[in-house]
């Protein structure tokens, strides 16, 4: 396929879509699948056929429509209308009344002018609700692979990297390392072989951004990786995906086959000299494999134990070769940057953190789901305007970002702009984009314990501070929750947290104490109120001895 063929295909597909008066898109993302979108799809299909609307109306499954808590969702594209809580009955009414008679099904309609939609800026999620998640033609019709074509025909690798650097794109996996800089290091590395790796091991519990992108718009990730491959001089890419995401893996496999068939992956892409293949590697349930050196070990079939950096993967990665690792969302930003130019991208968000960030809103919040907002947006706006605040009768207490490596942000920091640096100032991190809202029913010490349980369980066991330290942080927290701890224990907890943070080998251990430290910082009184006085000195016989605790700990 040549670039001309690609554009021809895009036009052909656009023309095909134009023949339909209506396009009905049902959300086929995992959230809606579990809410029962298959039955909805069947009913929609049946109704369209029965009413003889097949020529007028096209039915397709699209990527995540955002409001996962209100699914199954159906979107009528021609006359933009979003329906929530769609069941078979409502599905039939949509076809009969909306498509057939032009009357909307008011009861299930969601107002698209609602701030949930109006306050979002979509780059990564731009195709959600627009295209069929399983069709490469539809992706191409929506300017898909145009950026790759542009890179291959009009730009040299340095120029591509230059654009990414000028755009100021930073890694969306959490740390915020400048993507262009990383690519440049790999490009300059002298090696017969280089690799491009996509971190799709979204291990942060409470985050599903990457899953939604992979399920709803897989080609966008493939295109971003191919462009990265071209820029750094790699001909092989790997996507490391979680085994817990079977649908995403399935869609990726389909997408890779489609792209290979059209010559958009494989040898001599778009009849240029550029070859690039992508293989999928499936993780097997280890949070630590989100750490880049552990991920690479896992791609090579080993235990996912991190290695000391330096050397960084950009110098010595897969099989000792220079390797680019970025996460799904980072790659998803690449094509739009090349298509629309770096200046466009840099104009969104803040100066230091340009672009948008996708967040998975969940927890005690009215509208749970997937949102994409410009960087620098105040936290308040995400939680109250977009998310609609906490359910009635409850009060907002904290927003947890960054998952087990992040922290809890209390209400006095609600004005905080959401970008990499600001979140760090309050002891949290951007992380991959999970945002869990907690109300006044949440006990913050218990929250800290929950995350420590997670880190303890996910520690690879290589370095001592993380392996044993997280275990003891957990037992100390448990002691506090059970009201058996003294001030000495609390002091020891703080000392141990700092030690684990400063001496652990990799990011998992270094960040593991964050949820504890941030809750101590903002909710210290919740810890203090659970402490008991040090009784053992001059204790009377009646007072509780710590033996009971020790028994439970064991």
């Amino acid at each position: 396929m040549t670039v001309e063929d690609l554009r021809e295909l895009a036009e052909k597909e656009q023309a095909r879509q134009a023949q339909f008066e209506h396009r009905i898109l049902y959300c086929s993302s995992a959230g809606c699948v579990s809410s029962g979108c298959d039955a909805v799809k069947a009913e929609l299909k049946k109704a369209i056929e029965e009413l003889g609307l097949t020529n007028k109306c096209e039915l397709l499954g699209t990527g995540c429509l955002g409001l996962c808590g209100e699914g199954p969702l159906v979107f009528v594209h021609s006359d933009p209308t979003l329906y929530q809580h769609v069941d078979a009955k409502v599905a039939r009414r949509i076809v009969e009344e909306h498509i057939g008679q032009g009357k909307k099904v008011k009861e299930n309609e969601i107002d698209l002018k609602d701030p949930f939609f109006a306050s979002q800026t979509k780059i990564v999620l731009e195709n959600m609700g627009k295209i069929d998640a399983e069709s490469i033609e539809e992706y191409i019709a929506a300017d898909g692979y145009e950026a790759l074509a542009k890179a291959l025909t009009e730009m040299g690798p340095e120029e591509v990297i230059g654009e990414i650097r000028k755009a100021g794109l930073r890694g969306r996996g959490g740390a915020g390392y400048p993507t262009g800089l990383k690519w440049d290091i790999v490009r300059k590395g002298v090696s017969d072989q280089k690799y491009v790796v996509c971190n799709a091991d979204e291990g942060d519990p409470g985050a599903f951004m990457d899953r939604s992108v992979l399920e709803g718009d897989p080609h966008r990730v493939l295109e971003g990786m191919a462009i990265a491959g071209y820029a750094v001089g790699a001909n092989q890419g790997y996507i490391y995906a979680r085994a817990e995401y079977p649908l995403a893996i399935e869609r990726l496999k389909t997408a890779i086959k489609q792209a290979e068939k059209l010559g958009l992956l494989g040898n001599r892409i778009l009849e240029s000299q550029f070859n690039f293949r992508i293989d999928i590697r499936i993780g097997a349930g280890a949070f630590v494999c989100g750490e880049e050196t552990a991920l690479l070990r896992s791609v090579m079939g080993r235990r996912g134990r991190p290695k000391v950096r330096p050397p960084y993967p950009s110098e010595k990665g897969l099989w000792g070769k220079p390797t680019v690792i970025n996460n799904v969302e980072t790659y998803a930003n690449i094509a739009p940057i090349l298509r629309n130019g770096s200046a466009w991208f840099a104009g969104i968000g803040t100066q230091k953190s340009p672009g948008t960030k996708v967040f998975a809103l969940a927890g005690k919040i009215n509208r749970t789901g997937l949102v994409e907002v410009p960087m620098g947006i105040p936290l308040k706006k995400i939680i109250f305007d977009i998310g609609g605040g906490t359910p009635e009768g409850t009060e907002f207490k904290a927003a947890q970002t960054g998952g087990p490596s992040g922290g809890c942000i209390p209400k006095e920091h609600l004005d905080l702009p959401v970008d990499y640096e600001s979140l760090q100032t309050v002891g949290s991190i951007m992380g991959s984009g999970g945002m869990i809202i907690m109300d006044n029913t949440s006990d913050m010490v218990d929250v800290a314990k929950y995350f420590m349980d997670f880190c303890m369980d996910e520690s690879c066991g290589k370095c001592i501070p993380c392996r044993v330290g997280t275990k003891h942080i957990y037992t100390l927290l448990e002691k506090i929750v059970n009201r058996q701890a003294t001030e000495d224990d609390f002091a020891l907890l703080k000392e141990l947290c700092m030690m684990v943070k400063e001496t652990s080998l990799c990011g998992l251990g270094q960040a593991a104490p964050n949820p504890v430290l941030s809750t101590i910082r903002f909710f210290n009184e919740e810890y203090i109120s659970k402490l008991k006085p040090a009784t053992t000195f001059n204790a009377t016989g009646e007072e509780h001895s710590p033996v009971t605790v020790a028994k439970e700990v064991k």
Binding site: A534, T536, F537, N538, A539, T540, G541, S545, P546, V547, A550, K551, K554
Partner: protein, 178 residues
Amino acid sequence: MKPRVATAWLGGCSGCHMSFLDLDERLIELADKIDLVYSPIADVKEFPENVDVTLVEGAVTNSENEELAHIIRKNSRLVVAFGDCATTGNVTAMRNPFKLEDVEKRAYIELADKNPRIPDEYVTIAQLLNIAHPLHEIIKVDVWLHGCPPTADQIWFTVNELLQGKIPVLPPVYLRYG
């Protein structure tokens, strides 16, 4: 008035007390300096009040140990964990990885020569705790004197420092486990 010193024997083999006796001729010097108010080697029934220093041998492994530990703490200005069992649990704690019922079964049933039974209904036999604890997990400890047993020199050094009103920091040569 001379300082009032006590020694106590919890869940241990009494080796630390044997080592204490290894002070040999220094015992005479010590006797001039202190009043030994309670010890397994002295016939005193009740743990006295107002003790200056108590050396506690052994881990806290049963209900009697636990009770005595609290009494000691209540009545002592300084408590010394005397030997490895009091400091780490040591050999006494080797039962800890096993379930209490398995430990009792092993000791009282499988290894019994006659009348195999777990003596749980006798009030005179202390109930084993779930695990044997180092002393500091039960009461506040001020000084740790290691060794299995601590040597007479270690004991001499520690006691003398305490008698001079200092909290001893064991020099590396005296810091030893095992």
